[in-house]
């Protein structure tokens, strides 16, 4: 175990990693969870990758844009409030000044046994077993868990991106660029929980593309145990298109409760053609969790919380001031 070498150029080769803001990677290195053989600093490409550009109605956010820069951008504030909220409610102002959008998407689970660096964990140490399965004291994913890993994906931004049908640009080691749906980035744990994304080794996320929104309302609701600097206990990104009082289209994605950002397609379909009122949204929230893995012990409350986050997000997105919602 020698200290990793930091390089300013080239590509990460076997066992090496990109480093952007370092807020997640260095944290995990200090905990002994990540042990990269070397680091390639993306700072050198900030000029090219930290821009927010607009073309054909599509807004492209360079992957090296910091969370704070993106959060402050007036186009994001106005056209993509779900993204604005997902960013401004994440982490702390200090971290957001340093952290990049690419790094944010690739943050890793907060599962305590993953982070303690020594409990049995299939994600950290494939085949070692999972200390969280069957443990009544720790939260587990309500959706997407497997018999090998029950950890949740903790990030906020990715949940909003999934609801907004965002796409990513990914640059391969040979310099070629491919597109990828935002919802394809994270992989279900299955029997390989250590493989978290669809990126090949050395691949680089260069940009995030947000399609021109044709929603009448969108928002991101994050429920957490403190008002700042806390991960979501449950969150919901919601987009709706209303005609009069009728929902003609909706997107619902859940955060903090699933192994990947979780789209509720069944509920999206169910919402179509319904009247946008409190009762509909209560039912939609409930329907979102109806197929959740029945939680164990104290964890069961998170289904309830998740349902409430969806209801609240739908109420806000439909601009029904919550006073008639009481």
């Amino acid at each position: 175990m020698t200290p990793p070498v930091l390089r300013r150029d080239g590509l990460p080769l076997g066992g090496e990693k990109w480093i952007a803001g370092g807020t997640t990677l260095v944290d995990l290195m200090k905990l002994g969870v990540e042990r990269p053989a070397g680091l390639v600093d993306l700072g050198a490409r900030r000029g090219e990758l930290a821009r927010i550009t607009e073309a054909e109605g599509m807004l492209t956010l360079g992957a090296m844009t910091t969370m704070a820069e993106a959060e402050r951008d007036p186009r994001i504030r106005q056209r993509y409030p779900a993204v604005h909220l997902a960013l401004s409610l994440a982490a702390s102002p200090q971290i957001r000044e340093m952290a990049t959008l690419g790094g944010n998407l690739l943050q890793r689970t907060r599962c305590t046994f993953f982070r303690d660096g020594r409990s049995a964990c299939n994600k950290r140490n494939p085949g070692a077993g999972c200390s969280a399965i069957g443990n009544p004291d720790e939260p587990r994913a309500l959706f997407g868990a497997s018999g090998h890993c029950v950890a949740t994906y903790p990030g906020d931004l990715a949940v909003a991106l999934v609801a907004l049908d965002a796409t990513l640009s990914v640059e391969a080691a040979d310099g070629s660029v491919r597109g990828m749906a935002g919802s394809d980035l994270h992989r279900l744990p299955g029997d390989t929980p250590h493989v978290e994304t669809a990126l090949d080794p050395g691949e680089l996320i260069t940009g995030i593309h947000l399609p021109l929104p044709d929603w009448t309302g969108q928002t991101y609701v994050k429920l957490r145990e403190r008002a700042s600097y806390g991960f979501a206990s449950a969150s919901a990104a919601v987009c709706v298109r209303l005609e009069g009082r009728t929902v003609v289209a909706a997107r619902v994605a859940l955060g903090g409760v699933a192994s990947v950002p979780w789209r509720c397609r069944g509920v999206e379909d169910w919402l179509q053609g319904r009247i946008a009122d409190r009762n509909t949204f209560l039912q939609a929230g409930r329907a979102c969790v109806s197929r959740a893995d029945p939680g164990v012990g104290k964890d069961a409350y998170r289904q309830e919380l998740c349902a409430r986050a969806v209801t609240k997000a739908l109420l806000v997105a439909c601009n029904s001031a919550s006073d008639d919602a009481v």
């Binding site: 609701v221 109806s290 409350y301």
Partner: protein, 760 residues
């Protein structure tokens, strides 16, 4: 000067050194770095520790395990800390997860970390650890005493009074364990000296008590043991010691700033390595090497007469205890708050497989008053009385058990000031909808904490050029004690603060009371005052004989320094500075508090806390909109520091109410959210409008007419917040912290939405 901390400028400029910052220039040597290896499981026996790979790493100098660690002698821990019952690295037995099983000593931090990672533990597993009260039914034992508080007490026949009461309540409350989490993780430097003594640099809360523990463990002789301590306290001695403990600033404490074990592990490691070491605590270590506030469950039954007067209080706490003598003194305060006909306290304690629990702001009382005040609210609801009126009705004009009068009590004033500030009497009905759609709730609670004094000594020299040098080994943990004491000395002597020096760091300074239980300022100031009285008496004797003195020939016996003069009982006075110039340096050793402040009167500090809350009816998100605390703390010494202390304690109370808990993995017995990113404490965004008010003016008009304040202010906050939630939603809180899981439970019986609208 007033309002500014003496050490403040150095701290904000980064010039105030903390132990981990000490380098060759201060220490005179460069220590090796020592890190702990901890047990991953909560019970078992170590079969083997494979250190070969670690010892081969470059830079690793030594590894200490139970096999090669110095044997320690039994110690008396007056602070009831873990070493009093369990000394580190003395046996292969594992008592709890996170226990230190080895220490790696290396040339650099990096090498030490690599060494820790390279150590392989072979552990013979023991029976499953028991770490929560829920699993500890067969470990509960009835106790006579719970730590420094009573485990049992009774007044009259509470059970029959309860059975006969018109209105009753019956609830079981729960408080989760949590940690003090000071910002500074802490470090201890140790070096063995040529004469067999040891030099230690640390940040401790009770200098000579902690030094004595080190002296006893290493068998350094009587003068470093209990006899030496008694000589310091009773004989006001400032003898040299072979434990040369230098006390430094600490970055927060709230009960504990450095592990008591670390105070032993550093010298042990230095001995094994044959060189000075700095033992460094990682953030994770701070959870298992340091104490925590333990889990408590309390069944509380209240019985009232039809008019609301309390007929019976029956409190049955179950208290978790870790591997230390300390037990949360839950039963100490709840019977001192309200007048009542009868009470019964029956406590049980369960020894759990956890690190030693310990002191944390408002020990015992913060838990107990949460339960009592929630009970009072339930009672008020049943009686259809305003919660404040119920408290006023049961206000204790004299001590509710002994009947003795209070030394000073301004609780009624606190109720009035707090109620006025928040607009209690005109508050909207609970559940009223705010313009933004959220529900409004108001809550209030009383606060109380014991008034104590601890023995302290001080050696004061007033110099010929009119400076005061005070030798007193106090601890500065960020609470502002140095500033407070300097201000008091300035007031007592009339000398400006910049002519006052407090010498506190070395062990050869006078024995001071620890910075514990809000008693530090008062106890130490009393010793300083005694020293000044002694100086005054002697100075008066000399100046009476001095023809040139305005006091020449005066007969009056009693002399006092009443800054800026020396005053005799007959009213004559002479400027102190002139007398000092004429007679030269004057020294005196003072002592106070040997009776722990006992007098014919009952002592306590009081307060009243009020909260306004907004609750989202859909998500149950809460915002504490306003928090008002009115505290009866006698005279306020340094208004800015007092306000900061009170506000800080209230924010801590808000954390206790809303988020603070350290969770346990019941399979291994380990703390799971053992990092600052996951063990939540309030952020700025959680902290609403916090308003502090002070009432009361103390007992007399002397400089000591103030009370300790830091602990009382945490006490009423959690119940006031829980009450506000109940007022807004109707959901009654039973467990702290009141995170979503508890809030959802509280409302589940009330709201149709919680029970699930049929999904399609």
């Amino acid at each position: 000067m007033r309002g500014h901390r003496i050490e403040g400028a150095d701290k904000v400029r980064g010039r105030a050194p903390f132990v981990d910052d000490l380098r060759e220039d201060v220490l005179g040597f460069t220590p090796l770095i020592a890190l702990a290896v901890t047990a991953p499981v909560g019970s078992g026996t170590i079969r083997r520790i494979d250190t070969d790979a670690a010892l081969r790493l470059p830079g690793v100098r030594a590894i200490m395990t139970h096999e090669n660690a110095p044997r320690l002698r039994k110690v008396i821990s007056l602070s009831m800390s873990e070493p009093g019952v369990r000394l580190p690295l003395q046996s292969p037995r594992i008592a709890y997860a996170g226990q230190v099983v080895a220490v790696v000593v290396a040339e650099t931090l990096m090498a030490a970390r690599q060494g820790v990672a390279a150590i392989a533990l072979d552990i013979e597993p023991g029976p499953a650890p028991v770490v929560t009260l829920e699993d500890a039914d067969n470990r509960l034992r009835a106790v006579k005493r719970a730590g420094i508080g009573p485990g049992r007490s009774r007044k009259g026949n509470a059970d029959s009074a309860l059975a006969a009461a018109t209105v009753t309540t019956d609830d079981t409350f729960h408080n989760a364990p949590h940690h003090q989490n000071p910002l500074e993780p802490g470090a201890v430097v140790a070096r063995w000296d040529g004469d067999g003594g040891v030099t230690v640099h640390a940040a401790v809360q009770w200098h000579h008590i902690d030094a004595m523990m080190i002296g006893q463990a290493f068998g350094l002789g009587w003068s470093d043991g209990m006899p030496g301590l008694l000589r310091r306290v009773i004989g006001r001695s400032r003898h040299e010691s072979r434990v040369r403990l230098f006390n430094h600033f600490s970055g927060g404490a709230f009960g504990r700033n450095i592990s008591y074990q670390a105070l032993l592990l550093a010298p042990m490691a230095a001995r094994v390595a044959g060189a000075p070491v700095k033992f460094v605590q990682t953030r994770r270590d701070t959870f298992s090497l340091m104490s925590h506030r333990s889990e408590v469950r309390q069944r509380l039954r209240l019985g009232a007469h039809p008019d609301g007067r309390l007929a019976s209080i029956v409190l049955e706490p179950d208290i978790a205890k870790g591997n230390a003598a300390f037990v949360e003194p839950v039963g100490e305060m709840p019977f001192q708050l309200y007048t009542h006909d009868t009470h019964r306290l029956t406590s049980r304690v369960a020894q759990l497989d956890l690190p030693g629990a310990g002191w944390m702001r408002g020990p015992g009382v913060a838990h107990a008053i949460f339960a009592l005040e929630q009970g009072m609210d339930r009672l008020a609801a049943r009686l259809r009385m305003d919660p404040l009126d119920l408290r006023l009705l049961n206000h204790a004009g004299t001590h509710p058990v002994s009947g003795t009068p209070w030394e000073a009590k301004a609780l009624r004033g606190a109720y009035a000031a707090g109620a006025a500030a928040i607009g209690w009497r005109d508050r909207p009905k609970g559940g009223t909808i705010r313009p933004d759609g959220r529900l409004t709730g108001y809550g209030m609670a009383s606060a109380i904490d014991l008034g104590r004094q601890f023995p302290a000594t001080a050696h004061v020299t007033l110099t010929a050029d009119a400076r005061a040098v005070v030798s007193i080994a106090v601890a500065e943990m960020g609470q502002g004690l140095l500033t407070g004491l300097t201000g008091l000395v300035s007031e007592m002597t009339g000398l400006p603060p910049d002519r006052i020096t407090l010498r506190r760091q070395a062990i050869s300074e006078a024995y001071a009371a620890g910075s514990i239980g809000s008693t530090g300022t008062y106890s130490n100031a009393a010793a300083i005052q005694d020293a000044l009285h002694r100086i005054a008496t002697r100075l008066a004797d000399r100046t009476r004989k001095d023809r040139a003195s305005p006091l020449f020939g005066r007969k009056a016996k009693r002399a006092r320094i009443e800054g800026p003069d020396l005053a005799l009982a007959d009213g004559s006075r002479a400027p102190l500075a002139d007398l000092l110039y004429r007679h030269g340096d004057q020294s005196g050793s003072g002592r106070a508090g040997l009776t722990f402040g006992a007098s014919g009167k009952a002592k306590a500090s009081f307060g009243a806390v009020f909260c306004e809350m907004a609750v989202d009816p859909v998500t149950l998100e809460i915002e504490v909109v306003r928090l008002v605390g009115a505290y009866d703390c006698g005279r306020v010494l340094q208004p800015a520091i007092a306000a900061a202390q009170l506000r800080g304690a209230m924010i801590m109370g808000l954390g206790q109410a809303l988020m603070e808990e350290t969770r346990l993995d019941r399979r291994t017995g380990a703390w799971t959210n053992a990092e600052l990113g996951e063990a939540l404490i309030p952020t700025q965004a959680d902290v609403p409008h916090v308003e502090v008010l002070t009432v009361g003016s103390g007992t007399d008009d002397g400089p000591l007419n103030f009370k300790g304040i830091a602990e009382t202010a945490i006490v009423g906050v959690a119940p006031a917040i829980a009450s506000a939630f109940a007022d807004a939603t109707g959901g009654l809180i039973r467990s702290l912290p009141m995170t979503y899981v508890e809030r959802l439970r509280a409302v589940s019986a009330l709201e149709p939405i919680a029970q699930g609208v049929a999904s399609e």
